[in-house]
Assembly symmetry: C2
Homo-oligomer: 247 residues x 2
């Protein structure tokens, strides 16, 4: 499947960057079959048509409201000093079905700015690569103190490396999440399951003060095993752990 | 812990690249405490001593034969066209405790050569980053046909994307592996568990012929879920799945 990004409703419009890609990079020909998704669960299949420099679609079929099989996971991560690392995290997490990403400014976050538009484009690109028809939400860079205000503490966890503080085993969350699923199973609406949110700190970890603030509102700390993982590796690992739940 | 690579037995010699790093990049001072591992389970702690341009260690303590908690995993992966992707895979897999990596030349592998020495250095660097005292084995680039000759089919799996062929669920391996563990539990030597080997194909996947050759010798095919993962993402995901077993 050759998948591109665009608007499907009310009219089908292939995204302008994608049009460039189709004509200038891929040098595709009129009549070739492609698919277009709006990243909101809608998919159009059709044949390429060129009108001047503009590429559009002679629609064969539209599928609406396709189900989203990804288990809901929101990762809030501190941007790494080397931006390549956070870009790689984003690409891998999107391929493994993450539903929402936030970038947080913590006390020890070394990088204070990111190009959110570039990251959003990369999330779209990774979504297409993995044939996702529901694109993840990529939120603006947010101060830790602001991000904390809207947390559902029952479904939020913080991964930190301070071995002297109490941390639950990652597998314990599986059980907790199952409980949530059982509670929701009466009305057979798995989509009502609250997403799990995971906070991942910067290279120097969360500060003791930040960990305490999270503990104060009932957010559990989690250990990600015996090895010291880099920030982006911790994020990728949590995405992988979550992706495995889909099996 | 400031961890460096070097020889511990018969004499302690800090690796020459590491000496450069200590003196020229980190500009460390005499008397600072560092640790040195040989990547074979031995660890020395001591204070830095400089003799001319040479950095060595005034040893305080040596720990021998430290246990290796990593579950044994060997990933054989086709190098990606873009070498950054395979380097990133290697770094993440090492952080998550992989014990052996092989690079395989399959029919559709686009990249025919890699700098194995550079990759080995990166594996050492990632091992130090995650405080591993047992470094993974990084094997030379090998032809698929040669690699196939030495496989223990009972503990080897191939991840491919051909949906028309029978593939087991990744979680089924957990059960199979548990069986192996139970068989071995009589003599209480978990270290005798055979490592699991996972074959990960190139961007264009394994060929039908390669998949058939593996099936002919009893190697099971595994699905890595509903999303189409890139080569390096599949490798990272398998390493993450394996790392979670340590919890």
């Amino acid at each position: 499947m050759k998948l591109f990004f665009g608007q499907i409703f009310p009219d089908l419009i292939i995204d302008s960057d994608e049009q460039q890609h189709i004509t200038k990079v891929l040098r595709m020909r009129e009549g070739e079959e492609i698919s277009v998704t709006d990243g909101k669960g809608n998919l159009a299949k059709g044949n390429l048509v060129f009108e001047g420099k503009k590429a559009s679609l002679d629609v064969i079929e539209i599928k609406e409201n396709l189900p989203d099989f990804s288990p809901k996971l929101h990762i809030a991560i501190a941007p790494t000093k080397n931006i390549d690392r956070i870009e790689f995290f984003l690409e891998k997490a999107v391929e493994m079905g993450i539903s929402e990403v936030s970038f947080i400014l913590t006390e020890k976050t070394e990088r204070k700015n990111i190009s959110i538009e570039k990251l959003r484009k990369q999330a779209i690109s990774a979504s297409k690569q993995s044939l996702r028809f529901h694109f993840p939400v990529v939120n603006d860079l947010t101060k830790f103190s602001d991000f904390m205000k809207n947390l559902d503490s029952e479904h939020t966890f913080v991964a930190h490396c301070n071995e002297s503080l109490e941390r639950i085993n990652l597998n314990a969350i599986d059980i907790q999440n199952s409980k949530v699923k059982i509670q929701d199973s009466d009305n057979h609406q798995p989509s009502t399951i609250n997403p799990i949110t995971f906070l991942i700190g910067p290279e120097g970890d969360f500060s003791d003060r930040e960990i305490q603030l999270l503990a104060d509102i009932g957010i559990k700390a989690v250990s990600l095993g015996n090895q010291r993982l880099r920030t982006e590796t911790a994020g990728i690992f949590v995405a992988a752990w979550n992706y495995e739940k889909m099996f």
